[in-house]
């Protein structure tokens, strides 16, 4: 099968990642930092090494800022529940995923947290920033934006918004699910306080491990319990990362994540980004010729993450997705768990077909896809 659904999860993992996971399960199955024996200590060192790699990749300051979670959605929940209290106000964008929208609606109902949605303008970042600025009020505590839309690929102006947040004393969180490993993201440069990562996408890691890089503390915690240290203390430690890492962490996933980072670094994020955007450009050009409905400008390396959403006249997105699946091509159809984004581009009633390549896809994969779409219409 030709896999073009990498915005959902990386469909092919590097051999080095598979080997790292296998080696961990074969030779390093110990609870990292919870026991006193050599294997447990070696496992703890290995986890620390992966924290170091993530720290370097995203411009964090210390390994203690790098926390492992179950996935990116979990990381986002940790941030929202962790920093927001009753009457706090949050600003999000019109392109956010349900990973942001649903926890916020839950907190709105349960804790009287308030939030506003700022419209994103596909061709005018300054206007987007002004929209966000206009929504700031005296209770605004947090701005949370996706690095790039999982529906249109649109990259948000993180640096400008980070600067806006810094000037106004507001915390800034970023959903990096579609960004880390492909887009240039630097927490220092962009003034990001919390960065949520989905390593199974751009970092080619196994599923089941997420990352929250937190440069500020998390006050309210979702889970408490054993952390392997200070265990006579009946209260949860204040220090990250252990504050939010109670219980046994996903060691094979974390070590696999480290191998995935090595893989990405060995190629270079920019090279990967260019390769994937070039494939998207080719597809976009052909879709324009075919008269497909498109929801962004032509892909480029400054404004978009590498994905293309489209519809074909006379066909539902699921019809196209099912047809391609039967022909051996995996794409994503429907709402992509992002109804806000679909409302914004006017496709809430039908969704879109989304194509998202990885470094493993080739020009031939895109040619085959184009051939099959032409055959359908």
């Amino acid at each position: 099968m030709i896999y073009l659904d990498n915005a959902a999860t990386g469909g092919r993992k590097p051999d080095s990642v598979k080997k790292a996971v296998n080696d961990t399960l074969s030779r390093l199955c110990a609870n990292p930092g919870h026991s006193g024996h050599r294997l447990s200590e070696t496992a703890a060192e290995a986890v620390f090494d992966v924290r170091s790699k993530i720290k370097k990749m995203v411009g964090a300051t210390s390994e203690t800022e790098v926390c492992f979670t179950q996935n990116c959605t979990h990381a986002i929940n940790v941030v929202l529940s962790g920093v927001l209290n009753s009457r706090d106000h949050v600003i999000i964008s019109s392109l956010e995923h349900n990973a942001v929208l649903r926890p916020l609606n839950y907190l709105k109902l349960r804790n009287n947290v308030e939030f506003d949605v700022a419209e994103v303008y596909d061709t005018d970042d300054e206007l987007t920033v002004r929209r966000i600025e206009k929504l700031i009020n005296k209770n605004t505590k947090l701005v949370l934006l996706t690095a790039a839309s999982n529906v249109t690929g649109k990259r948000l102006p993180l640096r400008s918004v980070g600067e806006l947040c810094r000037r106004n004393g507001i915390m800034f969180a970023v959903d990096g699910a579609q960004g880390v490993g492909v887009l240039p993201l630097d927490m220092n440069v962009m003034n990001i306080d919390y960065l949520c990562i989905a390593p199974h996408k751009g970092l080619y890691a196994p599923m089941g491990v997420g990352v929250l890089v937190a440069r500020k503390n998390i006050d309210n915690i979702l889970i408490s319990g054993g952390t392997g240290s200070d265990s006579a203390n009946p209260y949860q430690p204040e220090e990250l990362p252990e504050r939010i890492e109670s219980g046994t962490v996903n060691l094979p996933g974390i070590i696999g994540c480290g191998a995935g980072i090595d893989f990405v670094n060995s190629l270079g994020c920019e090279k990967i980004y260019k390769h994937e955007i070039d494939l998207c450009k080719e597809l976009y050009r052909e879709l324009v010729k075919m008269g497909a409905e498109l929801y962004s400008c032509a892909p480029d390396m400054y404004r978009y993450a590498p994905l293309v959403s489209f519809n074909l006249k006379g066909y539902g997105s699921d019809e196209v997705g099912n047809y391609l699946s039967k022909q051996g091509i995996a794409v994503r159809s429907g709402l992509h768990c992002a109804p806000l984004a679909h409302k914004s581009i006017g496709t809430l009633d039908r969704g879109t077909v989304r194509v998202s390549p990885s470094v493993y896809n080739s020009e031939n994969d895109i040619k085959k896809l184009i051939f099959l779409i032409k055959r359908l219409i």
């Binding site: 006193g36 620390f48 210390s62 390994e63 203690t64 392997g228 240290s229 265990s231 220090e239 990362p241």
Partner: protein, 71 residues
Amino acid sequence: MKNIIVTGTVTYAIRGRDILRKNGFKATVERNSSGLGRHGCGYGIVVIGDIDNALEILKMNSIKIIDVNKK
């Protein structure tokens, strides 16, 4: 003299060890159960050398220390 600087977490212990090594100390991470009554299981940094200087360096680097056992 073997000094153990007890940290709140294993991550702090490893980070603290690395910082001390960069500053010329001989330092290792060790399971610390000597303070079981007070802190329970945990990890510490075993430091050979000027403990006061080591503590100062760790504090400057925001390594939270919960105890110091001098032996």
